[in-house]
C-alpha cells in the first residue's frame, strides 16, 4: 500500500502529535510530512504517511488511530492519498 493522509480535527491540546505519532510508529507507518493550521476556527493537523512497510492491516491502523483520537478528544481519520490527488489534481 502506498501513501495515506491522516487528518486530525478538533481542539488543540498537549500531546496530540506525540499520541498520533506513537500509533503510527507502532504500525511502522513513516511520517513524510506534517502541516498544522487553523482552518475556519478549527485546529487541524494533516500528516502524509508512507504505508509501504506497514505492519499489520490498514484496518487495524485505522482502528488504533480512531481510538487514540477518542482518547485525545479529537477526530482522527486516515484515507488513502489518491482520493485527494484525484479530486484536486488533473
Amino acid at each position: 500500500m502506498g501513501k495515506a493522509i491522516v487528518s486530525i480535527i478538533g481542539v488543540d491540546r498537549v500531546g496530540i502529535v506525540a499520541g498520533i505519532s506513537t500509533v503510527l510508529a507502532d504500525h511502522n507507518a513513516n511520517i513524510v510530512n506534517i502541516s498544522q493550521t487553523n482552518f475556519e476556527d478549527i485546529f487541524t493537523m494533516i500528516m502524509l504517511v508512507d504505508l509501504s512497510k506497514l505492519k499489520g492491516t490498514f484496518e487495524a491502523l485505522q482502528r488504533a488511530l480512531e481510538e487514540k483520537g477518542k482518547e485525545l478528544g479529537v477526530q482522527v481519520s486516515i484515507q488513502r492519498e489518491e482520493i485527494f490527488r484525484f479530486m484536486h489534481r488533473i
Binding site: 487541524t44 494533516i46 488513502r80 489518491e82 482520493i83 490527488r85
Partner: protein, 453 residues
C-alpha cells in the same frame, strides 16, 4: 506537501458535512450465456453466474469505503433484460424473481434490476406474461426491480404496452397498499432507455455490453448546495455556471476513482460514471434547494426550468472532464419523494405535475417517484406516461416514469415510502380524462427526426 491542507479539508468537509458519497456501484452481468427454455436450468446457470461475479462485490466496496473514507451507499446488480434470455410464463417469472431475490440478499445487494423488456415496437408472448407477472414480482420481493422500454425515437411509442403496464401499476399498488403502493417504486417505464444506467429501478445490462461491467453513480447535491449558499447572489449566471462546473469535476472524480479501483480489484471492466446529481431525503442533499439558491423562490416557480437547464449543463461539462467514460442517464434527477426540497415544493403547490413534465423536456430524466391519488385510473396513468414518452421520443432523449398511485389516499395527503425512497405529498392530477385516446391502442409512429440517414 503535494496538496494543501485547505484542499484536504475541502474533501473531508464535502464527505462529512455535505454528504458527498458514491450513491451506487452497479455490477452489470450478461445472462445471455445462461439462456435456457427450462426454468430450473436457467435459474441454476444464472444464479451461478451472479455468485461468480457478485460474491466479492459487497466486501470489496466495504474495503474501499474504509481505505478512502468515502461512503458507498448501495451495491447493486443489473442483468440482461430477463425477457431476452428466458421465455417463461407468469408462474415462471414469479419463481425466477424469487430465486434472484434470494441470491441478491445472500450477496448483500440492495437492488437487482433487469426484470425488463424492450417493447417499444411490439410485445412478444413471453413479454406479455412478464407484464402480467409484474404486480407479483414487485410486491413479493424486496430487491427485484423492473423496467420497460415502451418508446424510442427510432420506433415511436407503443401505446398498447403503456396501457397494459399502467393497469399493472394499479394492481402492484393495490398489492402493496399497506406500504402506500411502494411496489410501484421498483418499476420504471422508459423512452430511449440507456443500456448502462447504474441507477435503480431502471438499471438493466444492455445487449451491447460486455460480460460483466461496473457502472458508478455519484451523489453530490449537498456539495453544490453548500457552495452556492456560500457564494450568495453576488455572481452572474455564467459565473455561477463556472463554479458549478468545478464542483461537478470534483464530485465526478470520486466516482471515477472508486470505479477504477473497484474494477481493478474485482477483475471486471469499468463501465461508466453517470453524471446525474442524485439527491437523497436527507436535509441539504437536495436538487430543489440548489435551484432555490440559484434564485427561484421555490422549485416550480417561473425560472425553474431555465435554472435546472443551467445546473445540469454545468454538471455535465465539469463531469465530462473528470471521467474517462461518461454514460447512463447523466441528466437531472428530480425524484419527488427522494428529495426533501422537491417534496416540500409539491406540498406548497409551487411545483405541479405539468411543471415537472416541462422540466423533462430540457434535462430532467423523468417523472420520478411521484405519488398520485389512489383513485387515478389506469387510463389517466397511461396518459401521463404517454405524454412523458412523447417528450423523450420527440427530443431524442431519455425520459422515464416512476408513478405510484397511493391506495386510499387523496391529493394533499402524504405517502410514506421510508428510507432512501423518502416521503411525498400526493400530487394533484388533471380532473379531465383521456380514456378514448388511450383505448384506441396501437402505436404512435416514430417522428420524422427518427429518419437520420
Amino acid at each position: 506537501m503535494f496538496i494543501s491542507p485547505e484542499e484536504i479539508l475541502e474533501t473531508i468537509r464535502m464527505i462529512q458535512l455535505e454528504k458527498l458519497d458514491i450513491r451506487t456501484v452497479t455490477l452489470g452481468v450478461s445472462l445471455f450465456d445462461c439462456s435456457d427454455s427450462q426454468r430450473d436450468m436457467f435459474v441454476k446457470k444464472s444464479c451461478n453466474k451472479l455468485f461468480k461475479f457478485g460474491q466479492k462485490l459487497k466486501s470489496t466496496l466495504l474495503d474501499l469505503e474504509k481505505e478512502f473514507g468515502l461512503p458507498i451507499v448501495n451495491a447493486r446488480i443489473a442483468v440482461t433484460p430477463i425477457s431476452l434470455v428466458f421465455p417463461g410464463d407468469v408462474e415462471d417469472y414469479r419463481v425466477v424473481a424469487q430465486e434472484f431475490d434470494r441470491v441478491a440478499k445472500e450477496l448483500q445487494i440492495d437492488f437487482l434490476g433487469g426484470f425488463s423488456a424492450l417493447v417499444q415496437k411490439g410485445v412478444t408472448k413471453s413479454e406479455r406474461f412478464l407484464i402480467e407477472a409484474l404486480p407479483y414480482i414487485l410486491s413479493e420481493n424486496q430487491t427485484i426491480c423492473s423496467s420497460f422500454n415502451v418508446a424510442s425515437t427510432r420506433s415511436g411509442i407503443n401505446a398498447d404496452a403503456v396501457y397494459l403496464i399502467s393497469q399493472k401499476i394499479k394492481k402492484a399498488a393495490a398489492l402493496s397498499k399497506e406500504r402506500d403502493g411502494m411496489a410501484c417504486a421498483k418499476l420504471v417505464v422508459f423512452a430511449n432507455a440507456p443500456e448502462d444506467n447504474p441507477f435503480m429501478a431502471g438499471a438493466f445490462h444492455g445487449t451491447g455490453e460486455a460480460d460483466a461491467v461496473l457502472n458508478i453513480g455519484v451523489s453530490g447535491p449537498g456539495v453544490v448546495r453548500a457552495a452556492l449558499e456560500k457564494i450568495g447572489y453576488g455572481l452572474s449566471l455564467n459565473q455561477l455556471s463556472e463554479e458549478i462546473k468545478k464542483l461537478a469535476f470534483k464530485i465526478t472524480r470520486m466516482g471515477e476513482l472508486i470505479g477504477r479501483e473497484a474494477a481493478k480489484r474485482l477483475g471486471i471492466e469499468f463501465g461508466v460514471v453517470d453524471l446525474s446529481l442524485a439527491p437523497t431525503p436527507l436535509p441539504g442533499d437536495s436538487v430543489a434547494e440548489i435551484l432555490e439558491l440559484i434564485g427561484v423562490e421555490k422549485m416550480g416557480a417561473p425560472g425553474s426550468t431555465a435554472a435546472l437547464m443551467m445546473l445540469v449543463d454545468a454538471v455535465k461539462k465539469g463531469g465530462l472532464m473528470a471521467s474517462s467514460r461518461v454514460g447512463g442517464l447523466s441528466g437531472a434527477f428530480i425524484p419527488v419523494s427522494e428529495d426533501k426540497g422537491t417534496a416540500e415544493a409539491v406540498g406548497k403547490k409551487a411545483l405541479n405535475l405539468e411543471k415537472l413534465e416541462a422540466m423533462t423536456s430540457v434535462c430532467s430524466v423523468g417523472l420520478d417517484m411521484i405519488a398520485l391519488p389512489g383513485d387515478t385510473s389506469a387510463e389517466t396513468i397511461a396518459g401521463i406516461i404517454l405524454d412523458e414518452m412523447a417528450i423523450g421520443v420527440a427530443n431524442n432523449k431519455t425520459t422515464a416514469c416512476r408513478l405510484i398511485p397511493v391506495p386510499g389516499k387523496k391529493a394533499g395527503e402524504w405517502a410514506e415510502f421510508g428510507g432512501l425512497l423518502g416521503r411525498a405529498p400526493i400530487i394533484e392530477v388533471n380532473f379531465f380524462g383521456c380514456q378514448n385516446f388511450v383505448k384506441r391502442g396501437g402505436i404512435i409512429p416514430a417522428p420524422l427526426t427518427s429518419l437520420r440517414n
